[in-house]
Amino acid sequence: MDGITPVDCVDMKVKRGEVFGILGPNGAGKTTLIKMLCTLILPTSGDARVNGYDVVKESGKVRESIGFVTTDERSFYWRLTGRQNLEFFASLHNFYSKEARDMVDEVLEVVNLKDHADERFLNYSAGMKQSMAIARGLLNDPEVLFMDEPTRSLDPGAAQSLRDFIRQHIVKERGKTIFISTHNLDEAEQLCDRVAIFDGGRINVVGSPEELKGNLGSDSGLCDVFLHYTGKRFEERCEGEGATSRPTRPDRKGFSHRGGFGMRRRGL
C-alpha cells in the first residue's frame, strides 16, 4: 500500500470499560489500526468487530457506537466557533435542534470549554483544540472512544492535565471503553489497563503494564519490555539505560524531538 503502514496478523480483544493502549513508535501502524477499527480504512483480509459490529459489513452501526479523537487540529472549521463546529458534527450524528444544543452544552461542560464556546476555533490554544476534539468524540455518547495520540501536540503540563481528565471524567465517571494509541511510555503506564506493544504493523505482546514489566524483573520499565519484545528501543526515554532500566528522569518527562511527546526509533 502507498502512504500507510500495513497492519498484519493482529489478533486481540478489548474488554468493555477497559482502557487499552497501543504502544509503538512512529510508523508502527497504530493509526492504520485505529482507522481500520473506525471504518476509515478497509482491511483486505481478516475481520474485526467493534461493540459487536463487523467493521466492514456493519460499518454504519460501528460508527454509531464510536467516537474518534484525532490530534489533527485541522479537522475543525477554524473560522466557525467551537459551538458551531460541534453543532454541525452533532447533526452528522443525527442530533438536531434542541437535542443537539443540549448535547453540545453537555460535552462543552465536560471539557470545561463552555465559557469559550462562542469564540472562533482559530483563537483556541492547542490544549483547547484538543479538548474540543475530545468533546466532539463524546458527542454521540459512544460506547467506545478511539484516541489517536491525543497528547501529541500538547506541552507537558497540558498533556498531564489531559491524561488526568481522561482518567477521571471519561473512564471513571462515564465508563467508556477507550482504545488509545501512544508513543509515550508514561502515558501508557498512567492511563492503560492493558497495553499492546506494536511494531511493524504487528502486535508483539499484550498485557497490563505491571505484568509486562514484572515478567522481565522487578526493576524493569516499559522501555525494557519494548526492547525485549521488538529488539528495538524507544530512543529518547531509554537513552543511556543500556540493557537494564533505570527510573525515568523527571526533568525529561514528556519532551520529545518534535516539541510533542514521544520516542523515536533508532537503527531501523
Partner: protein, 270 residues
C-alpha cells in the same frame, strides 16, 4: 425524510457561515458579476442584428441569447466541478475524516457538501436574469415550468458527470480527465456564446454529443420563446437519456472509488 431535510439545513447553515466569514470575497464576486453582464450588453450592442440569421430561433436578440448562455453555463460548470471541489476542499481543510467517522454515509456527506455551490449558483442565475430584465431582456412569455423541468434534468445530468469527476479525484487526487474534457469542450461546442449553427456542420456533430447543447437550447426556448412542454420534449428526452446513462455509471464509479480509497488508506489524502 425529516432527518435528511434537517441534515440538508445543517450543511447549508455551515456553508453559509463559512462563506459569510469571508464577506469581502462574497460581495466582490457579486460586484464583478455586474461587469461581466455589462461587457456582453455592449458586445450585443456592437453586434446589433448582424447574427440575426442564427439568432432567429431564440428571438433574434444577442444579449438575451448570451445572458441565458453565461447564466446557465456557470450553473452547469458548478454542477460539473462541485462534487470534486467539495471532496478536495474537505480533504484540504482536514475535516473529511472527522465527517466520515460519523454515521452519515459518504455519499450523503459528499452530496450535501456540494449543496451550497448549487444554492449560490442559483442565486447568481437569478441575479443575471433580474439584471437582464432591467437591461431589456423580455421574459414575459417564459414557460417557467418548462424551464424548471429542464433545470432539474440539467442538474441530474451534470451532477452525474460531477460525481464521475469526483470519483477520479478520490483515486488520482489531481488530473481529472472528465472535468477537463467537459470544461474545455462545453463552452466552445455547447452554444454558450454563439448558436451552434455558426459552426461547420462536422463540428456541430461534437455539439450534439454534449448535454450542455440540449440544456441551453431548451432553456432559451423555454425562457425567451415560451415554448410549450411538447415543443421542449426533444431536448428534455435527450437530457433524460443522458441522465439514464450517466447517473448509474457515476454512482457505480463513485462507490468503486470510495472502496478503493478506503482499501488504499488514501481517502483523506489530497
Amino acid at each position: 425524510m425529516t432527518m435528511i431535510f434537517r441534515k440538508v439545513l445543517s450543511f447549508v447553515r455551515r456553508s453559509y457561515m463559512l462563506q459569510m466569514s469571508y464577506k469581502f470575497e462574497f460581495f466582490l464576486r457579486i460586484f464583478f458579476m455586474f461587469f461581466n453582464i455589462l461587457t456582453y450588453y455592449f458586445v450585443a450592442k456592437l453586434i446589433g442584428t448582424a447574427g440575426q440569421k442564427y439568432l432567429e430561433p431564440y428571438g433574434g436578440d444577442y444579449f438575451s441569447f448570451v445572458l441565458i448562455g453565461i447564466a446557465f453555463s456557470a450553473y452547469l460548470m458548478i454542477s460539473l466541478r462541485g462534487f470534486s471541489e467539495s471532496v478536495r476542499d474537505e480533504q484540504m481543510m482536514g475535516t473529511l475524516e472527522a465527517m466520515l467517522v460519523t454515521p452519515t454515509n459518504t455519499s450523503t456527506i459528499i452530496t450535501l457538501s456540494t449543496l451550497w455551490n448549487f444554492i449560490f449558483a442559483s442565486f447568481r442565475v437569478l441575479l443575471y436574469l433580474v439584471i437582464g430584465v432591467f437591461l431589456g431582456v423580455n421574459l414575459v412569455g417564459a414557460n417557467v415550468l418548462g424551464a424548471l423541468i429542464i433545470l432539474v434534468l440539467t442538474i441530474i445530468c451534470f451532477g452525474s458527470i460531477g460525481i464521475l469527476s469526483a470519483s477520479f479525484i478520490m483515486i488520482f487526487k489531481r488530473g481529472d480527465p472528465i472535468n477537463m474534457l467537459f470544461m474545455s469542450t462545453s463552452e466552445l461546442f455547447g452554444g454558450v456564446f454563439f448558436p451552434i449553427g455558426v459552426l461547420p456542420s462536422w463540428l456541430q456533430t461534437v455539439s450534439h454529443l454534449l448535454p450542455m447543447t440540449y440544456s441551453l437550447n431548451g432553456m432559451r426556448h423555454a425562457l425567451l420563446q415560451g415554448y410549450s412542454l411538447q415543443d421542449l420534449a426533444p431536448d428534455m428526452v435527450t437530457l433524460v437519456l443522458f441522465s439514464a446513462l450517466l447517473l448509474p455509471a457515476s454512482l457505480l464509479a463513485f462507490r468503486y472509488a470510495v472502496r478503493k480509497a478506503k482499501i488504499d488508506g488514501t481517502l483523506v489524502h489530497y
